[in-house]
């Protein structure tokens, strides 16, 4: 189960994406949990997520979230503006999964060195 957290100003516009991403994940047979929250809840919810994607209109929050993300080992990135406008579930899901995989690989490599 991969847990994808989306955040925007009030969790409204990202919730549009949630539906699309779930549809796409189902098509692929990928087990995911996707949910959207308002930006003030994002830090608190990060502990339950594998990745945090921020709406492009809130991209000025990325720096703040990254600090927390580094502590928790949760990668943080901004959703591409074009994908956001098209409510492109496919491409955003792709991005989320890539980030999760990269993070896991990085963790494994760290483990290997030890």
């Amino acid at each position: 189960m991969k847990r994808i957290l989306l955040a925007c100003s009030s969790g409204m516009s990202t919730s549009l994406l949630v539906t699309k991403m779930k549809e796409e994940a189902e098509k692929r047979g990928e087990e995911v949990e996707v949910w959207a929250v308002a930006q003030d809840k994002a830090e608190q919810q990060m502990a339950h997520a594998d990745v945090l994607l921020v709406g492009p209109q809130m991209r000025f929050m990325k720096k703040k979230f990254t600090v927390k993300g580094d502590q928790l080992g949760v990668p943080v990135d901004v959703i591409d503006a074009v994908d956001y406008g098209r409510v492109d579930g496919t491409s955003v899901l792709e991005k989320a999964l890539t980030l999760i995989n990269e993070q896991q690989r990085a963790l494994q490599e760290q483990g290997g060195e030890k």
Partner: protein, 442 residues
């Protein structure tokens, strides 16, 4: 053009970052969020208490009794919203730093009450509710900031009573807050006593006359409002959430003005302010979202022929009815689109000016001070915001028409661009398909 954009973006991003991540503004915004459900609850009952035609259907006596029965709902929430904002800010200030947040909330509240006059005319032992609403808003906000800072400072100084081992942690926690709270509240008591020696008599009075009155007077004027509206649009043009950035500065002013109108509305007096929270939320933003893009979606359905825009209309339409318009802003796109910059900036300014004069001339009633949730669809929101008056919906219709007309020429140019691209891609596809089949047959 691109260079200018990049430079501007470099200027705006740090501003947005600063405003949005500023400790005080974050606490302020989130503090208002705490109060919001209560404010909306109170608003619902103001709306119910003022249903149209009731005064004609019911006898005067029954109508008065009906109103009196519902009044406590808003009196306990909307009219004393400052109280909840203060608790919210105090709570969020301490929570941000990982302290015991609930103590932040109560210490802010107690500090505010210490500064509050506790006498009304000759009666002592009372707290006038008017200072818990709009009038005390600014003092409340400042007090919450300072009280939470002091509390946190004393906690960090470790001025706490250490309990011997074996004492249950809940017990020692209840004591750990004792000293910081005592110190903080004592400071506020001293402040109160010092102010009672001045001509202002109360801190409430001092903040109100020196800061709140001039600021709200400035904020209720058209120039400041237009600047705020323009700034929201400029931030959005760069794909940054304009409201969340600008509102954190303007909300205290807009809510105070709103509360003044509510008090007048409930007393049946003339409403003092045009510019209020609801003026912005319902008549400038709440018609499809920032930039009033509901009119743009309508225009897309009426005039466009490109697939891209038609698709956008379908995607953005349902969300747009509820004032969520990120699909339009990022999909049209509005952001960084020089062609769209003109209608994007001009339309809300024109709408703000027209609405302002329509209301100040009395053609349309001023906002009644009820808070309508921002996701309420246009027309309904206008009706509710003006205290159940159909002219509020008419005003929104007029605004939709204004935005429609201003956008139309620009949208057509954009549509033609997209349409031509689509046609040329289509014919290229056909040509290449034709050549590929001919090569395979050959």
């Amino acid at each position: 053009m691109n260079k200018i954009m990049n430079v501007l973006e470099e200027v705006l991003l740090p501003i947005a970052d600063k405003l949005n991540n500023n400790r005080y503004l974050t606490a302020l915004r989130n503090g208002f969020m705490v109060a919001l459900p209560l404010i909306i609850f109170g608003s619902i009952f103001v709306v119910i208490a003022n249903f149209p035609f009731l005064d004609q259907v019911l006898s005067e006596e029954a109508y008065t009794a009906y109103k009196a029965a519902l009044d406590p709902a808003s009196a306990a929430t909307l009219s004393i919203m400052g109280l909840f904002v203060i608790i919210g800010i105090g709570y969020k200030m301490v929570e941000q730093r990982g302290g015991e947040a609930i103590y932040g909330g109560v210490v802010a509240l107690a500090s505010f009450l210490i500064l509050t006059p506790q006498v009304l005319e000759e009666t002592t032992g009372v707290i006038p509710t008017n200072v818990l609403g709009a009038e005390g808003m600014f003092l409340g906000i400042f007090t919450a900031f300072i009280a939470a800072e002091l509390y946190h400072f004393f906690v960090r100084r470790n001025l706490t009573i250490k309990m011997p081992e074996g004492v249950p942690s809940a017990v020692s926690r209840s004591f750990s807050a004792l000293i910081p709270i005592t110190f903080t509240l004592t400071i506020f008591l001293v402040i109160r006593v010092l102010f009672s020696l001045t001509a202002y008599e109360t801190v409430q009075n001092f903040i109100y006359t020196l800061i709140q009155e001039p600021l709200t007077a400035l904020g209720s004027g058209l120039p400041a409002t237009l600047i705020a509206v323009l700034l929201i649009q400029v931030f959005w043009f760069f794909g940054l959430h304009g409201q969340i950035i600008i509102n954190s500065v303007f909300d205290p002013i807009w809510y105070s003005l709103n509360d003044q109108n509510l008090a007048a509305f409930q007393a049946g007096e003339e409403l003092p302010n045009v510019v209020t929270k609801q003026f912005i939320d319902t008549f400038i933003v709440g018609i499809g979202g920032s930039g009033m893009t509901l009119a743009v979606i309508i225009a897309i359905f009426v005039v466009t022929k490109s697939r891209q825009l038609k698709e956008l209309g379908k995607l953005g339409g349902p969300a747009g009815i509820f004032n969520v318009n990120e699909p339009v802003i990022f999909g049209l796109p509005v952001i960084m689109n020089p062609l769209i910059l003109i209608p994007w900036l001009v339309a809300p300014v024109v709408v703000a000016i027209v609405t302002y004069f329509a209301m100040s001339s009395g053609f349309v009633p001023k906002p009644a001070g009820v808070i309508v949730p921002w996701t309420t669809p246009a027309l309904l929101s206008g009706y509710l915001a003006t205290g159940n008056n159909i002219m509020g919906a008419v005003m929104q219709l007029i605004n939709i028409a204004i935005v429609f007309v201003i956008w139309l020429p620009f949208l057509k140019v954009l549509d033609n661009q997209y349409y031509r691209e689509e046609v040329s891609v289509d014919t290229n596809d056909k040509n290449s398909a034709a050549t590929s089949t001919s090569t395979t047959t050959a």
